[in-house]
Amino acid sequence: MNKRMDRRNFLKFSSAGIASALLGSSGLLSWSPRAHAATISQTFYITEGFITQPDDVDVYFKGFSTDTNSLTVPGAQLIAQEGDTVKVTIVNTLGTSHSFKIDGVVDSGAIGGGQTKTVEFTVNNAGSYLYYDGLNAPYNRLVGLHGALAVMPSGSSNELYDGSPTFVQQYFWVINDIDPAWHDRIRRRRTPNTPFTPSYFTINGRSMRVPGHPDYANPAIDSGYALDTRLEGSIGDRTLVRILNAGQCMHSVHFHANHVEWLARNGQPRADVWKKDTVLLPNNIGSLDVIYPFEVPPDSWPPAPTGHYPMHFHDEMTQTAGGGLYQFGIATTIAFK
């Protein structure tokens, strides 16, 4: 038996461990268009461990991690352009089989415990994609094995799709709903046998903290300050937000201070771009692509070009942790600088 397969102690992480593995100095998804296609390479290590939730409960997760000693949930954000080849190597450090799948694009098939597999695929259609483990569906995906891939239109740095409204910066928000009873069953290699009842709600793997909490404003833990969730801009800094739902719940995404331009749902560009303050996010790999325009809040009087506001989900169950702790769920801050 591979020694990786009978580790006695799971790795334990606060969400601080996630952040250091996930991103460099900026949370923005950065991109410079190229004239020619290229090959994008990424290695993921499938690992497991516990992540501490806002009420100090440790919950089991698996992740597409950046090294063998970390647990990265969700996995690293990938970005490519149309025509590129993406080469992903999966090192499965666990004793269970896993896979790497993007609907309609690639499916590695089962990668057995202790095995390594490389898949290469070409990305031909601009848009926002969830990569995930398609085995033992939906459990492996829900327990943390998912992440985001952006495909830019060829040669473009500021469009979601050819001819779309343009942006100057972009973010991914990957949403998950966590039922700790399900995660514990998966840890014990059993199939969940209770109705799905999530009690933690995350955006890029984190939940919100508020003033007075010791982790408030810690970008490694607080989704209001995490570099990859918090929207920051000055007036005119139109921001594309690619919202992917790895979880099982439908949600309501509510933006304060500006309406968003609603460009796409489930990867399909909308015939008309509507301006909305609230949009339904479909479940089970559903997605939304919206542009937050960073305009002076139109109802402010006197006009207020600076300030900060929440984005939060309006199905308010998502604003809780462990059945209480309002404000400790799926939310982030929109800062007008």
Binding site: D55, F196, T197, P198, S199, F201, V210, P211, G212, H213, Q248, C249, M250, H251, S252, V253, H254, H256, A257, N258, H259, D272, V273, W274, K275, K276, D277, T278, V279, L280, L281, N283, P297, P298, D299, S300, W301, P302, A304, T306, G307, H308, Y309, P310, H314, D315, E316, M317, Q319, T320, G322, G323, G324, L325, Y326, Q327, T333, A335, K337
Partner: protein, 336 residues
């Protein structure tokens, strides 16, 4: 960077108690002067009631909280309306919403949903303050359409308890026109569809704020209502909800998804022409026989029925995981 939070300290462990961890955590009591306060074009005064009730068609009574039409002026004479008394203003007006809260007993805010004012006037406790005393929310009505206002303190509980009311911005043409250059209407209805989980309706205002399992992650509604009227039977005929109109007239339904679960409203064979959603005119109106909506969306729907009849409108409330119908509220459009 401007950071209003630095001016305030959260109030922790306020006492009170109740289920879960007990006490009050992560609230931010204050009532500062309104920045840049000007003389408003219109003023609303709102107080708090937390002893209201709604009697359901099965005879049971459920506790309701809300906003009173209170304070200066004496218009409307207080009372415990549910939904809370509506606000109706005209595009271009500067509005004051004066909220008075007895902070010794509880804290609340008003967030005018879909209205986009400055941080101080947005009514989100942890980004500004929870009102302790009287605060004047100042905002300008920039876009005609349908909105609603609700409490944004311990929102998961307070909005479920009924702390919301309608908010309409008319274009300069006034009521009867949806938006400038848009359709006119002869008959108007506001349908705020909401679900109630009565097991949540016996808690303290600060329940769960210090932690503890209050069950707020799981809404299991047992009543389904339209604009404060039970959608099991009463809303079929209640004159404040059900519509009676004549052929040749135009009906505007302002549909508000006021609950937490996804909804699917079906117009019973009539076709809606949706001109405005979330207070923004659509580039092209769309025709819909039913609408799937998520919490807090609004759709402004014009109907021009050509045949007399009784059209039964059904609002299905959907399980957020399976999409299964967990309950239905019904009303009618009676066309003579």
């Amino acid at each position: 960077m401007f950071n209003i939070l630095e001016k305030h300290s959260p109030m922790m462990g306020m006492g009170g108690g109740g289920g879960g961890g007990g006490g009050t955590c992560y609230v931010y009591p204050d009532a500062p002067a309104t920045p840049g306060e000007v003389t408003p074009d219109v003023t609303y005064n709102r107080g708090i009631y937390m002893n209201g009730s709604m009697t359901m068609d099965d005879g049971n009574s459920v506790t309701i909280w809300g906003f009173t039409d209170g304070g200066g002026g004496g218009m409307g004479g207080g009372g415990n309306q549910f939904p809370s008394p509506a606000m109706r203003v005209t595009e271009g007006q500067v509005v004051h919403t004066n909220l008075t809260v007895n902070g010794m007993m509880w804290l609340h805010t008003i967030h005018h949903h879909g209205i986009e004012p400055s941080t101080e006037n947005d009514g989100v406790g942890h980004y500004s303050f929870d009102v302790d005393g009287t605060y004047t929310y100042q905002w300008k009505a920039s876009h005609a359409g349908t909105y609603f206002y609700h409490c944004h303190t311990n929102t998961v509980l307070h909005a479920e308890m009924g702390m919301y009311g309608g908010l309409i911005i008319d274009p300069p043409e006034g009521p009867g026109t949806l938006h400038s250059g848009g359709p006119t209407y002869d008959v108007e209805a506001i349908w705020a569809c909401d679900e109630i989980d009565s097991s949540w309706h016996n808690k303290n205002w600060d329940a769960g704020t210090c932690g503890g399992d209050e069950g707020f992650n799981s809404l299991n509604p047992d009543y389904f209502i339209i604009t404060g009227v039970d959608g099991a039977q009463s809303a079929l005929t209640n004159p404040g909800v059900a519509v009676t109109m004549n052929r040749g007239q135009k009906l505007l339904v302002r549909y508000i998804c006021a609950g937490y679960l996804p909804q699917r409203i079906n117009f019973g064979g009539l076709t809606a022409t949706v001109h405005v959603s979330d207070g923004r005119v659509l580039p092209n109106p769309v025709q819909m026989t039913e609408i799937e909506a998520s919490s807090a969306e609004r759709y402004d729907c014009i109907f021009e029925p050509t045949e007399a009849g009784v059209y039964e409108v059904t609002c299905d409330f959907l399980d957020w995981v399976t999409g299964a119908v967990v309950g239905t509220a019904r009303t009618r459009i009676n066309v003579n």
